[in-house]
Amino acid sequence: MTVDAAPVDRPADDSGLDRTPGAAPPRRRRPFRPGMIALFLVTAALAVLWLMPLAWALFTSLKPEGETTAIPLRWLPTEWTLAAYRAVIGGSDVGLWMFNSIFTATVTTVLVVLVSSMAAYGFARTTFPGRRLLLALTVMGIMVPPQVLIVPLFAEMVALGLVDTYWGVILPQVVAPAMVFIMVKFFQGLPHELEEAAHMDGASRWRIYWQIILPLSRPVLAAVSIFTFISTWNNFLWPFIVTTDPNAMTLPVGLIAVEGGFGLRYAEIMAASVIAALPLLIIFVLFQRQVVRGVAHTGLSGQ
């Protein structure tokens, strides 16, 4: 559960899954044994299996509607067309939902990082009275399944007039006790010397947090940001509950709302799916290293 039990014997920065060139210890394999070829073939077969649904969705989205239900199954379209994409982009609010998703996920992520890192700084680096109790309550908050909250939370949103608003989607998702906990663990491990020196120089707590602690914490801030963004972007249940107006929906919710509207037009459904899947896939390809480290980090810290 805690970081300090992690079985590690190498420098901290190598805890990600990418080996830094030069730092990698010699691996135990000798090149080119028959076993390696078998291993390669098995892994490749599994990778193909894993990519197949994505490929199938992509190819379907590029078929003319009439070809999508052909029997026997055809993988590739005989005629490649973007008709389904045109129909989806022109005929639904995909663009608006994309904007809603980008906006709510970005604002949520910024707020989570700011609010949680401040709290983590307070918990890890100061000694105000009641600190331990509040930290314990926060950690207990991790145990509450968000699903248990949906009914009373919806009533609260009705009372606050936040149904069908961006803030209705965003605010409840800002509560991320697990992220606070991860950062508390990280901040506790930072050296004290710099902070003490700054203190002597008369720097305020805010300056210490902003100019010393945060810059030292980039890896954990990146992990928390990426995780919050992925989970907010993909969250279905809460936006589904709190938005009924198509104009306020996020992409995952909007997709389901119009699925009926597409009827059985599979090419269009798949085109919409591809559009919804693309942003995070692109982010992953661009930031693969950080995402992978983020997962590793979350795991080692426990939730």
Partner: protein, 313 residues
């Protein structure tokens, strides 16, 4: 990253905050100011709804009516409601089916990819990419794949000469397995990455020593790798159990709990009672029963896991 703190003694109290005693004491309250914004959110959107929900559970409240105090009636009704038991049973069944599969498949994939240095980014992308898809996209794709006759699943069976015509989502005895299959494809990447990270942090000299002693590949796997992954496995199992118990999205979107009630999870039942039948008080009571169940399982798990951690050190 997380590991960074390993090398250093981690202290709960930060001595740095009061190196010189009294003058610093006044500053202690600024710590509370840092925690305050989070506390506001925490109370407003977690503690308050949690307590309000408990209050609502003791009333006959509807979606817009507050209802009367009915004491524990809702809880008693819930315990007598066969649909509560069906949905709880489905949730537990899904958890029991999916957890071992997701842990094992994650482990196997990580072991395979860990051995292959070339193109590791590609293997990682292949197995992790589905985790990045929204549940609605996963549901749309797999409902399409599971279509009878022209879907990919049947098409592949036909291609290797097997009889298609499996009611992937329409046969009550098959639907849950199809959901588990979908869930495995979708989420195993997370466990896979946790295991991959753990594998890469196993000290190399263990293997070198074993090689000198003449241990073969299998021997090293059984005697070094798997035992050293024990702590990670504990973590993966805990996270997976909690995640599986919360199942809702893919089931709701793929089968709406059907056919019949064969796949309906407890969260969906709460949703239907609360937002379709407008019996908010009753819905709250059911969600608290579920919460109690999750809490018990989580506490048991954490206890087991905590002990494992101690004994490892």
């Amino acid at each position: 990253m997380a590991v960074r703190s390993v090398a250093r003694p981690s202290r709960r109290d930060t001595p740095a905050s009061r190196p010189d005693g009294a003058p610093r004491r006044r500053h202690d309250w600024t710590g509370l100011l840092f925690v305050l914004p989070f506390l506001v959110f925490f109370v407003a959107f977690l503690v308050w709804p949690l307590l309000a929900g408990l209050g609502t559970a003791t009333t006959s409240a509807g979606l817009s009516t507050s209802g009367e105090f009915v004491g524990l009636d809702n809880f008693i009704d819930a315990l007598r409601d066969p649909d509560v038991w069906t949905s709880l049973g489905n949730t537990l069944w899904f958890t029991l089916l999916s957890t071992p599969i997701l842990v094992l498949v994650g482990l196997v994939l990580a072991l395979l990819v860990h051995q292959l240095t070339p193109a590791r980014w590609f293997w990682r992308l292949s197995f992790f990419a589905p985790f990045l898809l929204p549940s609605s996209v996963v549901a749309l794709i797999f409902v399409w794949i599971f279509q009878p006759d022209f879907g990919m699943a049947d098409g592949m069976l036909a291609a290797i000469g097997l009889n298609p015509g499996i009611g992937w989502l329409s046969d009550p005895s098959m639907a849950m397995f199809s959901i588990v299959l979908t869930t495995t494809w979708w989420t195993v990447g997370f466990n896979f990455l946790l295991y991959l990270a753990a594998l890469q942090s196993i000290p190399q000299h263990f293997y070198e020593a074993a090689a000198i002693d003449g241990a073969g590949d299998w021997r090293r796997l059984w005697s070094i790798t798997l035992p050293l992954l024990g702590r990670t496995t504990g973590l993966v199992v805990v996270l997976q159990l909690l995640a599986s118990l919360k199942v809702f999205d893919q089931i709701y979107l793929m089968t709406s709990g059907g056919p019949g009630t064969s796949t309906i999870p407890v969260i969906q039942y709460v949703y239907e009672i609360g937002f379709t039948n407008f019996r908010v008080g009753y819905a709250s009571a059911i969600s608290y029963l579920f919460f109690a169940l999750v809490l018990v399982i989580a506490l048991v798990q954490l206890r087991l896991f905590g002990n494992r951690k101690e004994s490892d050190r």
